[in-house]
């Protein structure tokens, strides 16, 4: 077996991921090959260093609050969705009534009616454009390597 393959097996040897047959293969090879034996020793030192490394632990109290924090955020999200739906309906209905009243008002000058309609039209176009852009961004694959 070539040295490269043995080196990969040495890496797995320390992680306890080899079966008996592979272990014996590595051990037999190490008796005959000084280069791989050196690799084995250095890997042992490396594993020792890695074994001493750990991520900073959070205090136990942090975990007691975890679920309530997730739940509160979920609840707030639902609240915002309901609020947004209601606000959109009110805005559209109010807008419709405003335009209707404006068109029917005989004492409002025509240029003012056009200006107001133009502002409302602009707001609608901007909103539609924003929503379309958001949908487009969401659909795009941001990271090729990550399965969605």
């Amino acid at each position: 077996m070539d040295h490269q393959k043995i080196k990969e097996l040495i890496s797995s040897y320390y992680e306890g991921e080899l079966n008996e047959e592979e272990k014996k293969l590595v051990e037999r090879h190490l008796k005959e090959c000084s280069e791989c034996k050196k690799e084995f020793e250095e890997m042992g030192k490396f594993e020792e260093v890695m074994g001493k490394m750990e991520l900073k632990k959070l205090p136990k109290e942090a975990w007691k609050m975890y679920w309530s924090s997730v739940y509160n955020r979920l609840e707030r999200r639902i609240g915002w969705i309901l609020f947004s739906i209601g606000a959109i309906i009110i805005l559209f209905f109010g807008g419709y009534k405003l335009v209707e009243g404006l068109i029917q008002a005989p004492d409002v000058p025509i240029f003012f009616k056009i200006a107001i309609l133009s502002v409302l039209g602009g707001v609608v176009i901007l909103l539609v454009s924003l929503v379309r852009e958001q949908l487009f961004v969401r659909k795009r694959e941001r990271y090729k390597e990550v399965e969605k």
Binding site: E8, S11, M50, K56, Y66, L74, K148
Partner: protein
């Protein structure tokens, strides 16, 4: 243990927390079915089972406690919103991990445009008297690994997943996981070579 069920465990949910016809252990897929019906108490069981794992994986990627907490919680919220699309016969964690990983990648991408987080925030060693310089170099080395290699290092060394579990979570063959780890370790060993062979 089969590939499909390597991460699937059993839960015991007390009767007072979930309406059930009998008091018996529930499998993960049964709990997920409850969640799909909108049962937030069932979801609490899922969240509490995976919260630490989610946090520490996110912490490994983003190296900031507050951000890791925020990302892990956001992942659970996202998972709850998308749970109807999840096949409850499969393990929850590999599916959830994809959401978590995406949010971590988003965060890393955003942060790289703004600022670097100091490394001190991210790591401690069991023994404080260990060579500080070596730790510093090693952490920088992990930070500088290609994403796939950093991922397997975090999952293997800081979450202690087996090759099989890493393969399942990352949806890559076991052989690829094995060689990613080998090459990651090779790079890290190279980075701290002078500490491993001080005579040279």
């Amino acid at each position: 243990m089969s590939e499909e069920t390597a991460l699937q465990g059993e839960f015991y949910i007390p009767k007072d927390r979930i309406v059930m016809t009998e008091n018996r252990p529930l499998s993960e897929s049964e709990v997920i079915k409850q969640v799909k019906k909108g049962n937030t108490e069932a979801y609490q069981v899922i969240v509490e089972r995976y919260m630490q794992r989610a946090y520490y994986i996110a912490f490994g990627f983003v190296r900031n406690s507050q951000d890791a907490m925020d990302i892990s919680q956001e992942s659970f919220i996202k998972a709850f919103r998308k749970i109807k699309r999840f096949d409850s016969e499969k393990s929850f964690f590999p599916w959830f991990y994809k959401l978590l990983k995406n949010l971590c990648l988003d965060h890393i991408k955003r942060r790289s445009r703004v600022q670097e987080i100091p490394l001190d925030e991210a790591r401690v060693l069991k023994e404080e008297r260990e060579d500080r310089e070596m730790k510093e170099i090693l952490w920088r080395g992990i930070e500088g690994l290609p994403f796939e290699q950093k991922e397997v290092i975090i999952l293997r060394y800081f979450q202690e997943f087996s090759y099989q579990e890493i393969a399942e979570i990352t949806a890559r063959p076991v052989g690829t996981v094995m060689s990613s780890l080998y090459y990651a370790k090779k790079r890290l060993r190279e980075a701290i070579k002078k500490f491993l062979s001080p005579e040279k």
